[in-house]
């Protein structure tokens, strides 16, 4: 199977709208991250400004990164490549643009409600009911648009990217509704331990059934295209796809290993977390063998470079994750900045990098012109990479200090001064990432606008 694509007459309005959405919200999301990081080193700087108190900034940051920056970025690429892979225009560009607008409206509502303290208080499921409904709806609309495009396809065989995008959209619509307890509009929660189990089933699926499949879809498109090589193995594509859905969905309870939930469920979560090497390596081997000997081509395209780097981060975050699910490791790593480091390798290093790569790879093909500035895109690549790797280093160190000090009987308060310097460094690196988002937005806007003078 190859990522053969066909030239089709299309405006790509939806794809462009999602790319813009992603680039815009990346600025806002990383700004919120920087704000939160600053508050952790200077808590009185924003004293008594209720709307931006740390406890409201943090969920805003997380939700915007997931639903404002990464997901729309991946979908932006998907709205471009799905029609091309199927040899038919998108079922409805109008519906697509409407979806993008509704998506942005939901994001604005997200920021406003969280700032007002309207939250359901469950991590990754904070949004209040009307926004929950909107989120499910936009995923359903996206899915509908893709499915109808599939139904009208000219190309018989469904390429692996299409599987991932279809599954990612429909499964997310389902688990989002389930995890947000959407049938209980007021609280959006179950009670007690069952609530924790459901929450983390869903919480983990945000990475496993949304970010990962969409990122895999983009990767399966970009890498074979950039290297002009056929995909290494159809069998591995199949194995990776089905095992991802089977294994990833089992492991949510690894967030609850130190909590009184049923032991058998913990065992399932641990065993399957280790078994995650199967979907992860099936995907990575497939991609890496496809790219084997062709790294020059990847290096030559800044979009492909982002994507390929993302696959390397996927390797690291997943291997690390499998270890973190072991109870002995988690004695040290749980509850502290180690987990924050892991989250950033995953969401920024893997899914975020691939989202940016998807955008930069597809925009020239949508517009028929080169990027406004390849240099800026490359510069952003390095800023994100340095920022993200730097985060990983300092937060992992901070996490180890915290975790080991606590095990040794030191109180949380005692350890605060020891991690201060790492928090300061983290804020500095955050500034780097935020700046890169500003440059990226400028570059993407200029690339999409009808061009006059282009930069190098």
């Amino acid at each position: 199977m190859t990522a053969e694509t066909k030239e089709i007459p299309a405006s790509y309005a939806t794809a462009k709208a999602f790319c813009l959405t992603s680039a815009f919200w990346m600025m806002v999301a990383t700004f919120y991250g920087l704000l939160g990081a600053t508050e952790l080193i200077a808590p009185d700087l924003t004293a008594n400004i209720g709307g931006i108190v740390f406890g409201r900034v943090r969920p805003t940051h997380i939700n915007l990164v997931l639903f404002g920056f990464v997901t729309p970025g991946l979908l932006g690429a998907a709205f471009f490549f799905i029609p091309r892979l199927l040899g038919t225009p998108l079922y409805s560009e109008r519906l697509g643009v409407f979806t993008a607008l509704a998506w942005n409206a939901a994001l604005v509502a997200l920021v406003a409600t969280l700032a007002m303290g309207l939250t359901q208080g469950r991590e990754y499921a904070e949004l209040i009911w009307p926004i929950d409904v909107a989120v499910v709806l936009v995923f359903a609309l996206t899915f509908f648009n893709f499915t109808m495009t599939v139904a009208r396809r000219q190309e018989k065989i469904l390429y692996v990217s299409v599987w991932y995008v279809l599954a990612g959209c429909i499964l997310t619509a389902c688990t989002y509704a389930l995890g947000n307890v959407i049938w209980r509009p007021n609280s959006g929660a179950l009670v007690g331990i069952p609530d924790a189990i459901l929450l983390w089933f869903y919480g983990h699926n945000v990475f496993g059934l949304l970010l990962t499949p969409l990122s895999a879809g983009v990767t399966y498109y970009v890498i074979p295209r950039a290297t002009r090589a056929p995909l290494y193995s159809h069998t591995l594509s199949l194995l990776g796809f089905w095992s991802l859905i089977v294994v990833y969905t089992h492991i949510g309870t690894h967030h609850l290993l130190q909590v009184p939930v049923p032991t058998w469920l913990k065992v399932v979560a641990i065993v399957d977390s280790v078994a995650m090497v199967i979907p992860v390596m099936a995907f990575l081997i497939n991609i890496w063998y496809t790219a084997k000997g062709k790294l020059g081509e990847i290096h030559a395209d800044v979009g492909a470079k982002f994507v390929f780097t993302g696959t390397i981060m996927y390797f690291f975050v997943s291997i690390q994750g499998s270890f973190m699910a072991l109870p002995d490791v988690q004695r040290v790593t749980h509850f502290n900045n180690w987990v924050v480091a892991h989250a950033h390798i995953g969401v920024l290093g893997f899914a975020g990098m691939i989202a940016l790569g998807g955008i930069y790879f597809t925009i020239p093909k949508m517009t028929g012109r080169p990027l406004f500035s390849r240099f800026l895109a490359d510069f952003q690549y390095w800023m994100v990479l340095i920022g993200m790797v730097g985060f990983t280093i300092v937060l992992t160190i901070a996490g180890l200090i915290q975790g080991n000090a606590w095990l040794n009987g030191e109180t949380v308060y005692r350890v605060l001064p020891q991690i201060h310097v790492y928090y300061v460094t983290r804020a500095g690196l955050g500034l780097l990432i935020f700046t890169s988002a500003l440059l990226g937005f400028y570059n993407i806007v200029r690339s999409l606008l009808p061009q006059r003078g282009a930069m190098p």
């Binding site: 808590p43 740390f54 499964l171 389930l178 089992h250 939930v261 502290n336 606590w406 308060y413």
Partner: protein, 311 residues
């Protein structure tokens, strides 16, 4: 395998349904029957309102509510049980300990400590990075304090009863004037401790260490010059002790050590036995004695064999 649209969509939905059954519905079947634990009780209206404020302000992103067997910090006396959460809607386990676990925080401090702490956490804990919550206003803060004081349910209630009893006693003693207050404070210290001088000689290095501890742990209440006029003072009653009144009132190194280690339940004076090890307590006690009371019994009789490090 031929990947038709139907195979992809229906196949993945079927897998999801099966797995939801295994990892969500099956566990629900028995965890939803969890019986309340021995400490459980129902929350009052104020406590529930406070919990809503807790949720609205994202306290959960810095505070877990689940004590583990391996923990030493706040609440380590009681390991979390499933039956503690039967009324938690949603459950607020948390995933980060930027601050301590507060599932058992009820009754650890009296209400006035919490008020000063919420107005600005740096008032009671100089190095804290918790945000100030003065903007919530008195009504919401009152409810929030009721919620925090209920954490630990019946255990918290017992601790609160103790806090209230000793608060009344401490206020009475404070209002009776410095002589009576100091006499009352000392009277509750076991005789053995009262008779013990600070066993270690005063040294410049020791005072420097004591100074650092004082800055990091005591300053917000007792103030930079030890007169009890730190920024927390206006929220706390009885107010933080003015150390200068202790001169000529038979204060020994042992008394200072004991009070710092154990705290004075009922007053805002917290115990420091979890935060500070032995040497740090002796050092800060001597710092207070030398600089603020201006009278230290360090290294006087009765004393044992000199410690090996002494010059």
């Amino acid at each position: 395998m031929k990947m038709t649209p139907l195979a992809v969509i229906v196949g993945s939905l079927l897998i999801l349904a099966t797995i939801v059954f295994v990892v969500v519905i099956l566990p629900f079947a028995h965890t939803s029957k969890t019986v309340p634990s021995d400490i459980f009780r129902v929350r009052t209206a104020e406590e529930s309102a406070g919990r809503a404020t807790y949720i609205a302000n994202g306290c959960v992103y810095c505070h877990s509510q689940s004590v583990r067997t391996i923990d030493w910090d706040l609440g380590a006396e009681r390991i979390a049980q499933a039956g503690d959460y039967v009324a938690d809607y949603p459950i607020l386990l948390g995933s980060q300990r930027t601050g301590p676990d507060i599932s058992q925080a009820g009754g650890e401090h009296p209400d006035d400590w919490h008020m000063a702490h919420f107005i600005n956490p740096r008032y009671t804990r100089t190095l804290s990075l918790m945000p100030p919550f003065e903007f919530l206003g008195p009504a919401k803060l009152d409810n929030l304090i009721r919620y925090v004081q209920s954490l630990g349910f019946k255990d918290a209630d017992k601790r609160m009863t103790r806090q209230r009893y000793w608060k009344a006693e401490a206020v009475k003693a404070y209002e009776a004037g410095p002589d009576a207050n100091v006499a009352w404070l000392s009277a509750h210290i076991p005789q053995g401790w009262r008779d013990v001088p600070n066993p270690y000689p005063t040294s410049a290095a020791g005072l420097a260490r004591g100074h650092k501890i004082y800055q990091d742990f005591c300053l917000g209440c007792h103030g930079p010059v030890g007169d009890g006029m730190g920024p927390a003072q206006q929220w706390i009653y009885p107010p933080p002790l003015n150390f200068t009144i202790l001169k000529n009132r038979e204060i020994s190194g042992g008394i200072l050590y004991y009070q710092i280690m154990n705290g004075i339940t009922g007053t805002a004076m917290p115990y420091f036995k979890r935060d500070l090890e032995s040497e740090k307590i002796w050092d800060v006690g001597n710092y207070v004695a030398v600089y603020f009371i201006n009278d230290s019994d360090a290294n006087t009789e009765p004393r044992g064999i000199d410690a090996a490090y002494e010059p």
